[in-house]
Symmetry: C2
DNA sequence: CGGGCGTTTGAATCAAATCAATTGGAGTGG
DNA sequence: CCACTCCAATTGATTTGATTCAAACGCCCG
């Protein structure tokens, strides 16, 4: 990480929306994650800086809208200024796989750089706003602003790290633990963006979650039922699309519990 | 055995080595992949350009040597000039996972940018040469050389694409198909570097392959036996660490065959 | 209201893990 | 040199976790 990138930690942060953000966030933070407020701040700072440096094109998207599509020639990078999105990869033989989830402040489109074409579909899962940046123009701006360049590289690097975490989860965890780990990831991502964990809504269907985790929708449903039975999550609605996570660490220890029986011999 | 695969492991890349490379490569190419020679050329060109632009530090590594380690503070990016490497991620609770494989010309260390620390171990699986580049110096060089910057971004982007392919494979393929798909990836990676497919050596143990694919070593062994029985691969040694792939496309159709029974209802 | 969709839950099945036994080198030391 | 251990790999028998198949529920919407 370049030192130049470190956000100037001047406490004087003007924007109103940030204030409301922090108030919003503070509730979620007291449970866990001391670095959560820092993350929230940085995500906001980055968005603001980007908006100033490069005038992004803005676009409102709704659930189901494509942000970019596989095969389209690569021209722009995107940032989710609000909303939620998923990236979906389609193999030559028709297998379809949710390969990534994107939250506020996340970049999209990095996969297009390598081959000049986006390699997957990016689909909005909610109403939100997407900013787009011409890649070439962005690169040009980067040459005179190393902090911007580093921000970009951090984003790409985070993508790489996140992908590995996914692989780790899918390869080493049994189904129930995968679902718990997924919820931990989901909740952490929300918390880092200043959202409370006592009212989380899940725009993905069980089938989508299952696809992302490499299990069937029935398995996801059973895992969620078990998590609810053990009080790790609390459903708020009968529809079971909204829930609370009273204690994030309970999710981690649930994952541990799933792992233990296998480790009995060591 | 170690140097068979790397015709020229001398530190300096001479024009001669490029020539022998291409000759070497043409044998592997006639079966498949028209873009393979192009890829070989580009990998070589990139290495040469990097060597000229930034004077990398060079280091000879042997099987088992660490290139970087998780937790170490991030300072350098690396390129494998020859040899093979794996990246291994260790979770907080002790799960260990091979998350990536690196071949000649591949970059290492991108995961360190995001958090200022490498997030995984990079371990050499063979004798080879690693070049290291100071990140800051490299970025500085990039500001005056957009082609270099783009090369870097292409490498990061490729990493992201590759990680997704892994996830896709693990999430959507049954065990036997995963092994076949892994071999396809392995062989393609070698072919793109100008190596023949009639004498492939496999430095990874069955356990390592299994770990990478999220299956047990017994399952890998059974899958390989089946692939050999069906003639998709041909073992050369009794040790079963060296084999030939007569026809790359046979691997793909093997994957297809594994998928079909599941699709009977559609 | 009825149909479609998403979800839950149970029962049966199956693929892969686990357990277990054997082989064949590679390396060590008497 | 042989006996020894150690490790990677193979193969078979058994178990098990997850899928598949099936049924039922609630909800939204035309």
């Amino acid at each position: 990480m370049l030192n130049v990138s470190t956000p100037n930690s001047s406490p004087a942060l003007h924007a109103q929306s940030l204030v409301s953000w922090q108030q919003h966030g503070s509730a979620a933070m007291k449970a866990d994650m001391p670095d959560c407020a820092v993350a929230t701040r940085r995500i906001f700072d980055n968005l603001q800086r980007l908006q100033q440096l490069l005038q992004p094109q803005r676009r409102i998207v709704h659930a189901g809208d494509h942000i970019h599509q596989a095969g389209e020639s690569f021209r722009d990078l995107y940032i989710l200024n609000s909303g939620l999105a998923k990236t979906v990869s389609l193999s030559a033989d028709g297998r379809e796989q949710v390969v990534g989830l994107k939250f506020r402040g996340d970049w999209l489109g990095f996969d297009g750089i390598a081959h000049g074409q986006y390699q997957c579909d990016a689909i909005s899962m909610d109403t939100g706003e997407v900013w787009s940046f011409g890649y070439e123009a962005t690169m040009a701006a980067c040459t005179s602003d190393l902090a911007l360049l580093d921000m970009l590289h951090q984003a790409m690097s985070s993508d790489i790290c996140r992908d590995r975490d996914s692989l780790m989860s899918v390869c080493t965890l049994p189904a129930d633990a995968r679902v718990a780990d997924f919820l931990r990831y989901w909740a952490t991502s929300l918390a880092r963006r200043g959202q409370r964990l006592d009212h989380i809504s899940m725009p993905m269907t069980r089938a989508e979650i299952g696809n992302y985790l490499g299990v069937t929708l029935e398995t996801v449903s059973r895992a969620l039922s078990r998590l609810a039975r053990e009080g790790v999550i609390v459903f708020i609605e009968k529809h079971r699309r909204e829930f609370a996570i009273p204690d994030l660490s309970a999710l981690s220890s649930f994952v541990q519990r799933c792992l233990e029986p296998a480790a009995r011999l060591q």
